[in-house]
Protein backbone atom coordinates (compact mmCIF):
# COMPACT_ATOMS: atom_id res chain seq x y z
CA UNK A 1 0.00 0.00 0.00
CA UNK A 2 1.46 3.37 -1.01
CA UNK A 3 1.85 6.21 1.47
CA UNK A 4 -0.74 8.30 -0.32
CA UNK A 5 -3.42 5.65 -0.07
CA UNK A 6 -2.69 5.17 3.59
CA UNK A 7 -3.19 8.83 4.46
CA UNK A 8 -6.31 8.85 2.34
CA UNK A 9 -7.67 5.90 4.29
CA UNK A 10 -6.93 7.47 7.66
CA UNK A 11 -8.53 10.80 6.96
CA UNK A 12 -11.53 9.80 4.86
CA UNK A 13 -14.07 9.01 7.60
CA UNK A 14 -17.37 8.51 5.83
CA UNK A 15 -19.17 7.69 9.08
CA UNK A 16 -20.97 10.66 10.58
CA UNK A 17 -20.88 11.52 14.28
CA UNK A 18 -24.38 10.10 14.53
CA UNK A 19 -23.28 6.81 12.96
CA UNK A 20 -20.42 6.50 15.43
CA UNK A 21 -22.73 7.22 18.34
CA UNK A 22 -25.28 4.70 17.08
CA UNK A 23 -22.56 2.07 16.63
CA UNK A 24 -21.34 2.75 20.16
CA UNK A 25 -24.79 2.29 21.69
CA UNK A 26 -25.44 -0.87 19.65
CA UNK A 27 -22.04 -2.27 20.60
CA UNK A 28 -22.95 -2.11 24.29
CA UNK A 29 -25.52 -4.83 23.54
CA UNK A 30 -23.03 -7.03 21.72
CA UNK A 31 -23.79 -10.22 23.68
CA UNK A 32 -27.57 -9.79 23.81
CA UNK A 33 -28.35 -12.80 21.63
CA UNK A 34 -25.32 -14.90 22.59
CA UNK A 35 -25.99 -18.42 21.35
CA UNK A 36 -24.01 -21.65 21.19
CA UNK A 37 -23.89 -21.74 17.39
CA UNK A 38 -22.30 -18.43 16.43
CA UNK A 39 -22.03 -16.70 19.82
CA UNK A 40 -21.83 -12.91 19.38
CA UNK A 41 -22.65 -12.98 15.66
CA UNK A 42 -26.01 -11.17 15.66
CA UNK A 43 -24.66 -8.61 18.11
CA UNK A 44 -21.73 -7.87 15.83
CA UNK A 45 -24.03 -7.57 12.82
CA UNK A 46 -26.39 -5.23 14.68
CA UNK A 47 -23.42 -3.07 15.67
CA UNK A 48 -22.31 -2.85 12.02
CA UNK A 49 -25.75 -1.78 10.74
CA UNK A 50 -25.07 2.00 10.86
CA UNK A 51 -21.90 1.49 8.78
CA UNK A 52 -23.63 -0.85 6.33
CA UNK A 53 -26.50 1.60 5.84
CA UNK A 54 -24.02 4.45 5.32
CA UNK A 55 -21.74 2.72 2.80
CA UNK A 56 -24.10 0.50 0.78
CA UNK A 57 -27.20 1.85 -0.90
CA UNK A 58 -27.99 -1.20 -3.06
CA UNK A 59 -30.23 -3.84 -1.43
CA UNK A 60 -28.09 -6.74 -2.66
CA UNK A 61 -24.88 -5.18 -1.34
CA UNK A 62 -26.58 -4.60 2.01
CA UNK A 63 -27.75 -8.20 2.17
CA UNK A 64 -24.24 -9.40 1.36
CA UNK A 65 -22.74 -7.23 4.09
CA UNK A 66 -25.30 -8.36 6.68
CA UNK A 67 -24.60 -11.98 5.80
CA UNK A 68 -20.85 -11.49 6.24
CA UNK A 69 -21.33 -10.14 9.74
CA UNK A 70 -23.64 -12.92 10.85
CA UNK A 71 -20.66 -15.28 10.80
CA UNK A 72 -19.23 -16.69 14.03
CA UNK A 73 -17.76 -14.07 16.31
CA UNK A 74 -16.57 -14.26 19.92
CA UNK A 75 -14.08 -12.20 21.88
CA UNK A 76 -13.85 -10.15 25.08
CA UNK A 77 -16.86 -7.81 24.77
CA UNK A 78 -15.40 -4.36 25.48
CA UNK A 79 -12.28 -4.44 23.32
CA UNK A 80 -14.40 -5.81 20.46
CA UNK A 81 -15.07 -2.17 19.56
CA UNK A 82 -11.65 -1.64 17.91
CA UNK A 83 -12.39 -4.68 15.71
CA UNK A 84 -15.70 -3.08 14.71
CA UNK A 85 -13.77 0.06 13.81
CA UNK A 86 -11.32 -1.84 11.61
CA UNK A 87 -14.16 -3.70 9.90
CA UNK A 88 -16.07 -0.45 9.32
CA UNK A 89 -12.96 1.01 7.66
CA UNK A 90 -12.67 -2.08 5.44
CA UNK A 91 -16.35 -1.95 4.50
CA UNK A 92 -15.92 1.68 3.55
CA UNK A 93 -13.00 0.84 1.25
CA UNK A 94 -14.86 -2.10 -0.23
CA UNK A 95 -17.90 0.07 -0.93
CA UNK A 96 -15.60 2.62 -2.58
CA UNK A 97 -14.57 -0.08 -5.02
CA UNK A 98 -11.21 -1.14 -3.63
CA UNK A 99 -10.33 -4.81 -4.20
CA UNK A 100 -11.37 -6.18 -0.82
CA UNK A 101 -13.04 -9.59 -0.84
CA UNK A 102 -15.55 -10.88 1.70
CA UNK A 103 -12.90 -13.37 2.79
CA UNK A 104 -10.48 -10.51 3.59
CA UNK A 105 -12.94 -8.93 6.00
CA UNK A 106 -13.79 -12.26 7.60
CA UNK A 107 -10.10 -13.11 7.97
CA UNK A 108 -9.37 -9.82 9.71
CA UNK A 109 -12.28 -10.42 12.10
CA UNK A 110 -11.26 -13.99 12.87
CA UNK A 111 -7.61 -13.01 13.04
CA UNK A 112 -8.23 -10.25 15.58
CA UNK A 113 -10.68 -12.21 17.78
CA UNK A 114 -8.04 -14.34 19.46
CA UNK A 115 -5.34 -11.73 20.13
CA UNK A 116 -7.93 -9.22 21.38
CA UNK A 117 -9.33 -11.79 23.82
CA UNK A 118 -5.75 -12.58 24.84
CA UNK A 119 -5.29 -8.95 25.81
CA UNK A 120 -8.83 -8.22 26.99
CA UNK A 121 -9.45 -11.16 29.31
CA UNK A 122 -6.45 -10.58 31.62
CA UNK A 123 -6.87 -6.80 31.63
CA UNK A 124 -10.63 -6.52 32.14
CA UNK A 125 -11.80 -9.82 33.66
CA UNK A 126 -8.54 -10.73 35.40
CA UNK A 127 -7.47 -7.40 36.80
CA UNK A 128 -9.76 -4.37 36.43
CA UNK A 129 -12.99 -6.02 37.55
CA UNK A 130 -11.71 -8.24 40.40
CA UNK A 131 -9.52 -5.45 41.82
CA UNK A 132 -12.34 -2.87 41.71
CA UNK A 133 -14.83 -5.45 43.00
CA UNK A 134 -12.51 -6.39 45.87
CA UNK A 135 -12.12 -2.72 46.76
CA UNK A 136 -15.89 -2.17 46.53
CA UNK A 137 -16.72 -5.30 48.50
CA UNK A 138 -14.22 -4.42 51.25
CA UNK A 139 -16.13 -1.18 51.80
CA UNK A 140 -19.55 -2.81 51.32
CA UNK A 141 -19.08 -5.46 54.01
CA UNK A 142 -18.98 -2.64 56.54
CA UNK A 143 -22.27 -1.34 55.07
CA UNK A 144 -20.91 1.63 53.12
CA UNK A 145 -22.72 2.71 49.94
CA UNK A 146 -19.37 4.00 48.68
CA UNK A 147 -18.35 0.38 47.98
CA UNK A 148 -20.96 -0.39 45.30
CA UNK A 149 -20.59 3.13 43.89
CA UNK A 150 -16.80 2.91 43.48
CA UNK A 151 -17.15 -0.41 41.70
CA UNK A 152 -20.02 0.63 39.43
CA UNK A 153 -18.66 4.03 38.44
CA UNK A 154 -15.07 2.83 38.11
CA UNK A 155 -15.71 -0.23 35.97
CA UNK A 156 -18.17 1.58 33.71
CA UNK A 157 -15.77 4.45 33.12
CA UNK A 158 -13.14 1.97 31.98
CA UNK A 159 -15.69 0.18 29.80
CA UNK A 160 -17.06 3.30 28.13
CA UNK A 161 -13.63 4.72 27.36
CA UNK A 162 -12.50 1.37 25.93
CA UNK A 163 -15.51 1.13 23.65
CA UNK A 164 -15.70 4.78 22.58
CA UNK A 165 -12.03 5.39 21.84
CA UNK A 166 -11.47 1.79 20.76
CA UNK A 167 -13.94 2.08 17.90
CA UNK A 168 -12.53 5.43 16.74
CA UNK A 169 -8.99 4.09 16.92
CA UNK A 170 -9.92 1.02 14.89
CA UNK A 171 -11.78 3.09 12.33
CA UNK A 172 -8.95 5.60 11.89
CA UNK A 173 -6.12 3.08 11.81
CA UNK A 174 -7.86 0.44 9.73
CA UNK A 175 -5.88 -2.73 9.24
CA UNK A 176 -2.73 -0.95 10.49
CA UNK A 177 -4.00 -1.69 13.98
CA UNK A 178 -3.00 -5.32 13.58
CA UNK A 179 0.60 -4.24 14.09
CA UNK A 180 -0.38 -2.65 17.43
CA UNK A 181 -2.34 -5.65 18.60
CA UNK A 182 0.54 -8.03 17.98
CA UNK A 183 3.21 -5.51 18.99
CA UNK A 184 5.03 -4.95 22.26
CA UNK A 185 3.03 -2.01 23.61
CA UNK A 186 -0.15 -3.95 24.28
CA UNK A 187 1.81 -6.97 25.45
CA UNK A 188 3.45 -4.72 28.01
CA UNK A 189 0.05 -3.54 29.21
CA UNK A 190 -1.24 -7.11 29.46
CA UNK A 191 1.79 -8.18 31.46
CA UNK A 192 1.42 -5.23 33.81
CA UNK A 193 -2.22 -6.06 34.35
CA UNK A 194 -1.35 -9.69 35.01
CA UNK A 195 1.32 -8.76 37.58
CA UNK A 196 -1.09 -6.47 39.41
CA UNK A 197 -3.92 -9.00 39.19
CA UNK A 198 -1.85 -11.88 40.52
CA UNK A 199 -0.37 -9.73 43.30
CA UNK A 200 -3.84 -8.71 44.47
CA UNK A 201 -5.12 -12.31 44.19
CA UNK A 202 -2.27 -13.42 46.43
CA UNK A 203 -3.24 -10.81 48.98
CA UNK A 204 -6.90 -11.83 48.83
CA UNK A 205 -6.10 -15.50 49.36
CA UNK A 206 -4.30 -14.50 52.53
CA UNK A 207 -6.67 -11.91 53.91
CA UNK A 208 -10.12 -12.52 52.53
CA UNK A 209 -10.53 -16.06 53.53
CA UNK A 210 -11.39 -17.18 57.02
CA UNK A 211 -10.56 -20.68 58.07
CA UNK A 212 -10.59 -21.56 61.74
CA UNK A 213 -9.45 -24.98 62.92
CA UNK A 214 -10.06 -25.21 66.63
CA UNK A 215 -9.32 -28.94 66.73
CA UNK A 216 -7.23 -29.59 69.83
CA UNK A 217 -4.13 -31.66 69.13
CA UNK A 218 -2.56 -31.75 72.57
CA UNK A 219 -3.09 -30.60 76.14
CA UNK A 220 -0.14 -30.40 78.48
CA UNK A 221 1.31 -28.44 81.35
CA UNK A 222 4.45 -26.45 80.67
CA UNK A 223 7.50 -26.07 82.95
CA UNK A 224 5.93 -23.18 84.85
CA UNK A 225 2.93 -25.34 85.57
CA UNK A 226 0.55 -23.49 83.25
CA UNK A 227 -1.82 -25.59 81.12
CA UNK A 228 -1.15 -25.23 77.39
CA UNK A 229 -3.57 -26.16 74.62
CA UNK A 230 -2.25 -26.82 71.14
CA UNK A 231 -4.85 -26.40 68.40
CA UNK A 232 -4.40 -27.31 64.78
CA UNK A 233 -4.82 -23.62 63.95
CA UNK A 234 -2.01 -22.46 66.24
CA UNK A 235 0.33 -25.03 64.78
CA UNK A 236 -0.47 -24.10 61.20
CA UNK A 237 -0.18 -20.39 61.98
CA UNK A 238 3.27 -21.01 63.39
CA UNK A 239 4.21 -22.47 60.02
CA UNK A 240 2.55 -19.85 57.78
CA UNK A 241 -0.76 -18.06 58.40
CA UNK A 242 -3.18 -18.66 55.56
CA UNK A 243 -1.50 -21.89 54.47
CA UNK A 244 -4.76 -23.85 54.25
CA UNK A 245 -6.37 -21.18 52.07
CA UNK A 246 -3.32 -21.28 49.81
CA UNK A 247 -3.56 -25.05 49.47
CA UNK A 248 -7.29 -24.83 48.76
CA UNK A 249 -6.60 -22.25 46.05
CA UNK A 250 -4.12 -24.56 44.37
CA UNK A 251 -6.55 -27.44 44.71
CA UNK A 252 -9.25 -25.39 42.98
CA UNK A 253 -6.86 -24.34 40.22
CA UNK A 254 -5.94 -27.96 39.65
CA UNK A 255 -9.58 -29.03 39.43
CA UNK A 256 -10.51 -26.11 37.16
CA UNK A 257 -7.68 -26.99 34.80
CA UNK A 258 -9.16 -30.47 34.59
CA UNK A 259 -12.38 -28.85 33.35
CA UNK A 260 -14.36 -29.43 36.53
CA UNK A 261 -17.26 -26.95 36.59
CA UNK A 262 -16.68 -24.22 39.20
CA UNK A 263 -20.10 -24.78 40.67
CA UNK A 264 -19.23 -28.39 41.56
CA UNK A 265 -16.06 -27.26 43.32
CA UNK A 266 -18.18 -24.77 45.26
CA UNK A 267 -20.68 -27.47 46.22
CA UNK A 268 -17.79 -29.72 47.22
CA UNK A 269 -16.51 -27.00 49.50
CA UNK A 270 -19.96 -26.61 51.04
CA UNK A 271 -19.94 -30.32 51.77
CA UNK A 272 -16.46 -29.99 53.23
CA UNK A 273 -17.63 -27.11 55.42
CA UNK A 274 -20.64 -28.98 56.78
CA UNK A 275 -18.69 -32.18 57.31
CA UNK A 276 -15.73 -30.35 58.84
CA UNK A 277 -17.99 -28.44 61.21
CA UNK A 278 -19.79 -31.62 62.19
CA UNK A 279 -16.60 -33.50 63.11
CA UNK A 280 -15.11 -30.42 64.78
CA UNK A 281 -12.28 -29.81 62.32
CA UNK A 282 -13.58 -26.35 61.37
CA UNK A 283 -15.10 -23.78 63.68
CA UNK A 284 -16.96 -20.52 63.25
Amino acid sequence: MSEAVKTEQKTSGGLTKGDIRSTYIRSTFLLGSFNFERMQAIGFCVSMIPAIKRFYKDKNDQAEALKRHLEFFNTTPWPASPIMGVVAAMEEQKAAGEPIETADITNVKIGLMGPVAGIGDPIFWGTARPVLAALGASLAVSGSIVGPLIFFVGINLIRMLTRWYGFRLGYQQGTDIIRDVTGNRLKKLTQMASVLGLFVMGALVSKWTSIKMPLVIANYTDNAGKPVQLTLQSQLDALLPGLVALLMTFGSMWLLRRRVNAIWIIFGMFALGILGYWVGLFGL
Binding site: N74, F199, W208, K212, L240, S252, F270, F282
Partner: protein, 273 residues
Protein backbone atom coordinates in the same frame (compact mmCIF):
# COMPACT_ATOMS: atom_id res chain seq x y z
CA UNK B 1 -44.24 -6.08 50.07
CA UNK B 2 -46.30 -3.39 48.35
CA UNK B 3 -47.42 -3.86 44.72
CA UNK B 4 -45.04 -1.07 43.70
CA UNK B 5 -42.12 -2.84 45.37
CA UNK B 6 -43.10 -6.08 43.67
CA UNK B 7 -42.98 -4.37 40.26
CA UNK B 8 -39.63 -2.73 41.07
CA UNK B 9 -38.17 -6.07 42.20
CA UNK B 10 -39.16 -7.61 38.86
CA UNK B 11 -37.68 -4.62 37.03
CA UNK B 12 -34.33 -4.92 38.84
CA UNK B 13 -34.31 -8.67 38.16
CA UNK B 14 -35.02 -8.04 34.48
CA UNK B 15 -32.12 -5.58 34.20
CA UNK B 16 -29.81 -7.95 36.12
CA UNK B 17 -30.77 -10.85 33.87
CA UNK B 18 -30.02 -8.89 30.72
CA UNK B 19 -26.75 -7.61 32.21
CA UNK B 20 -25.77 -11.17 33.02
CA UNK B 21 -25.56 -12.12 29.35
CA UNK B 22 -24.27 -8.74 28.17
CA UNK B 23 -21.52 -8.47 30.80
CA UNK B 24 -21.55 -4.79 29.94
CA UNK B 25 -22.80 -2.41 32.63
CA UNK B 26 -22.30 -4.93 35.47
CA UNK B 27 -25.85 -4.70 36.87
CA UNK B 28 -25.62 -8.46 37.39
CA UNK B 29 -22.71 -8.30 39.83
CA UNK B 30 -23.85 -8.94 43.42
CA UNK B 31 -22.35 -5.64 44.55
CA UNK B 32 -24.71 -3.75 42.22
CA UNK B 33 -27.73 -6.10 42.00
CA UNK B 34 -28.07 -6.69 45.77
CA UNK B 35 -27.65 -2.98 46.47
CA UNK B 36 -30.44 -2.15 44.01
CA UNK B 37 -32.63 -4.90 45.48
CA UNK B 38 -32.01 -3.48 48.95
CA UNK B 39 -32.95 -0.04 47.67
CA UNK B 40 -36.31 -1.10 46.20
CA UNK B 41 -37.13 -3.35 49.17
CA UNK B 42 -36.49 -0.49 51.61
CA UNK B 43 -33.44 -2.01 53.30
CA UNK B 44 -30.43 -0.57 51.52
CA UNK B 45 -28.05 -1.42 54.37
CA UNK B 46 -28.74 -5.17 54.24
CA UNK B 47 -28.57 -5.09 50.44
CA UNK B 48 -25.07 -3.60 50.55
CA UNK B 49 -23.90 -6.10 53.19
CA UNK B 50 -25.22 -9.06 51.20
CA UNK B 51 -23.81 -7.62 47.97
CA UNK B 52 -20.37 -7.23 49.51
CA UNK B 53 -20.37 -10.76 50.88
CA UNK B 54 -21.60 -12.31 47.64
CA UNK B 55 -19.24 -10.24 45.49
CA UNK B 56 -16.28 -11.80 47.28
CA UNK B 57 -17.49 -15.28 46.34
CA UNK B 58 -18.30 -14.24 42.78
CA UNK B 59 -15.09 -12.25 42.32
CA UNK B 60 -13.63 -14.52 39.67
CA UNK B 61 -16.85 -15.66 38.02
CA UNK B 62 -16.39 -14.72 34.38
CA UNK B 63 -17.38 -15.82 30.91
CA UNK B 64 -14.23 -16.62 28.99
CA UNK B 65 -14.53 -18.04 25.51
CA UNK B 66 -17.48 -20.40 25.39
CA UNK B 67 -17.14 -21.36 29.07
CA UNK B 68 -19.83 -20.03 31.35
CA UNK B 69 -19.60 -18.82 34.92
CA UNK B 70 -22.13 -19.56 37.67
CA UNK B 71 -24.91 -17.00 37.31
CA UNK B 72 -24.47 -14.09 39.70
CA UNK B 73 -27.70 -12.38 38.62
CA UNK B 74 -30.25 -14.97 39.76
CA UNK B 75 -28.20 -15.65 42.89
CA UNK B 76 -28.15 -11.96 43.84
CA UNK B 77 -31.80 -11.13 43.18
CA UNK B 78 -33.37 -14.15 44.90
CA UNK B 79 -30.92 -14.14 47.81
CA UNK B 80 -31.74 -10.46 48.40
CA UNK B 81 -35.48 -11.19 48.45
CA UNK B 82 -35.03 -14.09 50.85
CA UNK B 83 -32.74 -12.17 53.20
CA UNK B 84 -34.68 -8.89 53.25
CA UNK B 85 -38.30 -10.01 52.87
CA UNK B 86 -37.83 -13.40 54.52
CA UNK B 87 -35.81 -11.79 57.35
CA UNK B 88 -32.84 -14.16 57.18
CA UNK B 89 -29.20 -13.52 58.05
CA UNK B 90 -26.69 -12.39 55.45
CA UNK B 91 -24.67 -15.61 55.85
CA UNK B 92 -27.79 -17.70 55.18
CA UNK B 93 -28.37 -15.56 52.12
CA UNK B 94 -24.89 -16.34 50.85
CA UNK B 95 -25.44 -20.05 51.43
CA UNK B 96 -28.72 -19.94 49.47
CA UNK B 97 -27.11 -17.94 46.67
CA UNK B 98 -24.73 -20.70 45.59
CA UNK B 99 -27.31 -23.31 44.51
CA UNK B 100 -29.19 -20.43 42.88
CA UNK B 101 -26.09 -19.53 40.86
CA UNK B 102 -26.01 -23.11 39.61
CA UNK B 103 -29.70 -22.97 38.70
CA UNK B 104 -29.15 -19.67 36.92
CA UNK B 105 -26.33 -21.22 34.93
CA UNK B 106 -28.58 -24.03 33.76
CA UNK B 107 -31.27 -21.52 32.76
CA UNK B 108 -28.88 -19.35 30.77
CA UNK B 109 -27.51 -22.40 28.95
CA UNK B 110 -31.11 -23.22 28.05
CA UNK B 111 -31.76 -19.71 26.71
CA UNK B 112 -28.45 -19.63 24.82
CA UNK B 113 -29.53 -22.81 23.08
CA UNK B 114 -32.95 -21.38 22.19
CA UNK B 115 -31.33 -18.29 20.66
CA UNK B 116 -29.73 -20.54 18.02
CA UNK B 117 -33.22 -20.36 16.46
CA UNK B 118 -33.01 -16.54 16.49
CA UNK B 119 -29.66 -16.85 14.74
CA UNK B 120 -31.25 -18.73 11.84
CA UNK B 121 -34.13 -16.24 11.69
CA UNK B 122 -31.53 -13.47 11.45
CA UNK B 123 -29.97 -15.27 8.47
CA UNK B 124 -33.34 -15.14 6.68
CA UNK B 125 -33.74 -11.44 7.44
CA UNK B 126 -30.20 -10.76 6.21
CA UNK B 127 -30.99 -12.32 2.84
CA UNK B 128 -33.78 -9.77 2.43
CA UNK B 129 -31.62 -6.93 3.80
CA UNK B 130 -34.20 -6.51 6.57
CA UNK B 131 -32.33 -4.49 9.22
CA UNK B 132 -35.28 -4.24 11.57
CA UNK B 133 -35.75 -8.01 11.55
CA UNK B 134 -32.16 -8.68 12.62
CA UNK B 135 -32.47 -6.14 15.41
CA UNK B 136 -35.66 -7.84 16.58
CA UNK B 137 -33.90 -11.23 16.71
CA UNK B 138 -31.08 -9.68 18.70
CA UNK B 139 -33.16 -7.90 21.30
CA UNK B 140 -35.62 -10.81 21.45
CA UNK B 141 -32.78 -12.99 22.69
CA UNK B 142 -31.83 -10.30 25.19
CA UNK B 143 -35.41 -10.09 26.48
CA UNK B 144 -35.48 -13.86 27.05
CA UNK B 145 -32.32 -13.56 29.13
CA UNK B 146 -33.99 -10.88 31.23
CA UNK B 147 -37.12 -12.97 31.76
CA UNK B 148 -35.03 -15.96 32.75
CA UNK B 149 -34.09 -14.07 35.94
CA UNK B 150 -37.23 -11.95 36.35
CA UNK B 151 -39.73 -14.84 36.39
CA UNK B 152 -38.05 -16.99 39.08
CA UNK B 153 -37.39 -13.85 41.17
CA UNK B 154 -41.05 -12.84 40.91
CA UNK B 155 -42.11 -16.33 41.97
CA UNK B 156 -39.87 -16.22 45.04
CA UNK B 157 -40.92 -12.65 45.87
CA UNK B 158 -44.57 -13.76 45.78
CA UNK B 159 -44.07 -16.39 48.47
CA UNK B 160 -41.14 -15.00 50.48
CA UNK B 161 -41.97 -13.93 53.99
CA UNK B 162 -44.99 -16.21 54.21
CA UNK B 163 -45.38 -18.52 57.20
CA UNK B 164 -44.64 -21.71 55.27
CA UNK B 165 -41.38 -20.46 53.76
CA UNK B 166 -40.15 -19.14 57.10
CA UNK B 167 -40.95 -22.47 58.77
CA UNK B 168 -39.15 -24.28 55.98
CA UNK B 169 -36.07 -22.07 56.37
CA UNK B 170 -36.16 -22.49 60.15
CA UNK B 171 -36.28 -26.27 59.78
CA UNK B 172 -32.76 -26.44 58.34
CA UNK B 173 -30.57 -28.06 61.03
CA UNK B 174 -27.94 -25.91 62.72
CA UNK B 175 -25.05 -28.10 61.62
CA UNK B 176 -25.96 -27.32 58.00
CA UNK B 177 -26.34 -23.56 58.42
CA UNK B 178 -23.17 -23.32 60.52
CA UNK B 179 -21.32 -25.58 58.11
CA UNK B 180 -22.41 -23.40 55.22
CA UNK B 181 -21.18 -20.37 57.12
CA UNK B 182 -17.82 -22.08 57.69
CA UNK B 183 -17.61 -22.93 53.99
CA UNK B 184 -18.39 -19.31 53.13
CA UNK B 185 -15.02 -18.45 54.62
CA UNK B 186 -13.06 -20.44 52.07
CA UNK B 187 -15.40 -20.80 49.09
CA UNK B 188 -13.99 -17.49 47.86
CA UNK B 189 -10.79 -19.25 46.79
CA UNK B 190 -12.63 -20.82 43.83
CA UNK B 191 -13.10 -17.34 42.37
CA UNK B 192 -9.46 -16.46 42.99
CA UNK B 193 -8.42 -19.73 41.34
CA UNK B 194 -10.51 -18.87 38.28
CA UNK B 195 -8.75 -15.52 37.91
CA UNK B 196 -5.28 -17.03 38.38
CA UNK B 197 -5.98 -19.80 35.87
CA UNK B 198 -7.32 -17.36 33.30
CA UNK B 199 -4.12 -15.30 33.41
CA UNK B 200 -2.17 -18.32 32.20
CA UNK B 201 1.06 -16.71 33.32
CA UNK B 202 3.17 -19.27 35.09
CA UNK B 203 6.26 -17.05 34.97
CA UNK B 204 4.38 -14.34 36.84
CA UNK B 205 3.39 -16.59 39.77
CA UNK B 206 6.11 -15.11 42.03
CA UNK B 207 3.98 -11.98 42.17
CA UNK B 208 1.10 -14.06 43.50
CA UNK B 209 3.22 -15.40 46.34
CA UNK B 210 4.63 -11.94 46.99
CA UNK B 211 1.10 -10.60 47.35
CA UNK B 212 0.22 -13.48 49.66
CA UNK B 213 3.15 -12.92 52.00
CA UNK B 214 2.95 -9.12 51.99
CA UNK B 215 -0.75 -9.27 52.87
CA UNK B 216 -0.24 -11.92 55.52
CA UNK B 217 2.23 -9.79 57.39
CA UNK B 218 0.42 -6.47 56.87
CA UNK B 219 -2.03 -7.13 59.65
CA UNK B 220 -4.17 -4.03 59.18
CA UNK B 221 -5.34 -5.08 55.74
CA UNK B 222 -8.96 -5.62 56.80
CA UNK B 223 -9.78 -1.96 56.27
CA UNK B 224 -10.35 -0.73 52.73
CA UNK B 225 -7.62 1.86 52.60
CA UNK B 226 -4.80 -0.64 52.90
CA UNK B 227 -6.14 -2.50 49.89
CA UNK B 228 -5.41 0.71 48.04
CA UNK B 229 -1.88 0.66 49.44
CA UNK B 230 -1.57 -2.91 48.27
CA UNK B 231 -2.75 -1.84 44.83
CA UNK B 232 -0.03 0.81 44.72
CA UNK B 233 2.62 -1.78 45.57
CA UNK B 234 1.16 -4.01 42.86
CA UNK B 235 1.26 -1.24 40.24
CA UNK B 236 4.85 -0.39 41.19
CA UNK B 237 5.87 -4.03 40.83
CA UNK B 238 4.12 -4.20 37.47
CA UNK B 239 5.91 -1.12 36.18
CA UNK B 240 9.30 -2.25 37.45
CA UNK B 241 8.72 -5.66 35.90
CA UNK B 242 8.06 -4.35 32.38
CA UNK B 243 10.81 -1.73 32.69
CA UNK B 244 13.40 -4.34 33.52
CA UNK B 245 12.05 -7.13 31.33
CA UNK B 246 14.53 -7.65 28.46
CA UNK B 247 11.61 -8.81 26.30
CA UNK B 248 10.55 -5.16 25.93
CA UNK B 249 14.04 -3.78 25.30
CA UNK B 250 14.90 -3.55 21.64
CA UNK B 251 18.28 -2.06 22.52
CA UNK B 252 19.77 -5.10 24.26
CA UNK B 253 18.63 -7.71 21.82
CA UNK B 254 21.65 -9.46 20.26
CA UNK B 255 22.47 -8.11 16.81
CA UNK B 256 21.43 -10.39 13.97
CA UNK B 257 24.00 -12.95 12.80
CA UNK B 258 27.11 -14.05 14.68
CA UNK B 259 27.47 -14.44 18.42
CA UNK B 260 29.71 -11.59 19.56
CA UNK B 261 29.29 -12.54 23.20
CA UNK B 262 30.85 -15.92 22.70
CA UNK B 263 33.61 -14.50 20.50
CA UNK B 264 34.53 -12.01 23.20
CA UNK B 265 34.58 -14.77 25.80
CA UNK B 266 36.98 -16.75 23.62
CA UNK B 267 39.27 -13.75 23.31
CA UNK B 268 39.34 -13.48 27.07
CA UNK B 269 40.22 -17.16 27.32
CA UNK B 270 43.11 -16.62 24.92
CA UNK B 271 44.42 -13.76 26.99
CA UNK B 272 44.27 -15.83 30.13
CA UNK B 273 46.23 -18.58 28.48
Amino acid sequence: MSPLQFVLVILVALVAGMASVLDERQFHRPLVACTLMGLVLGNLHTGILLGGGLELIALGWMNVGAAMAPDAALASTIASVIVIVGKQGVSEGIAIAVPLAAAGQVLTIFVRTITVFFQHQADNFAAKANFRGIELCHFGGLALQGLRVAIPTAAVAAVAGTQIVNQWLAAIPKVVTSGLQVAGGFIVVVGYAMVINMMQARVLMPFFFLGFVVATFMTTLNSGITLVALGIIGICLAMIYVQLNPEFHDSIQPPPGGQPGIAAANDLDDELI
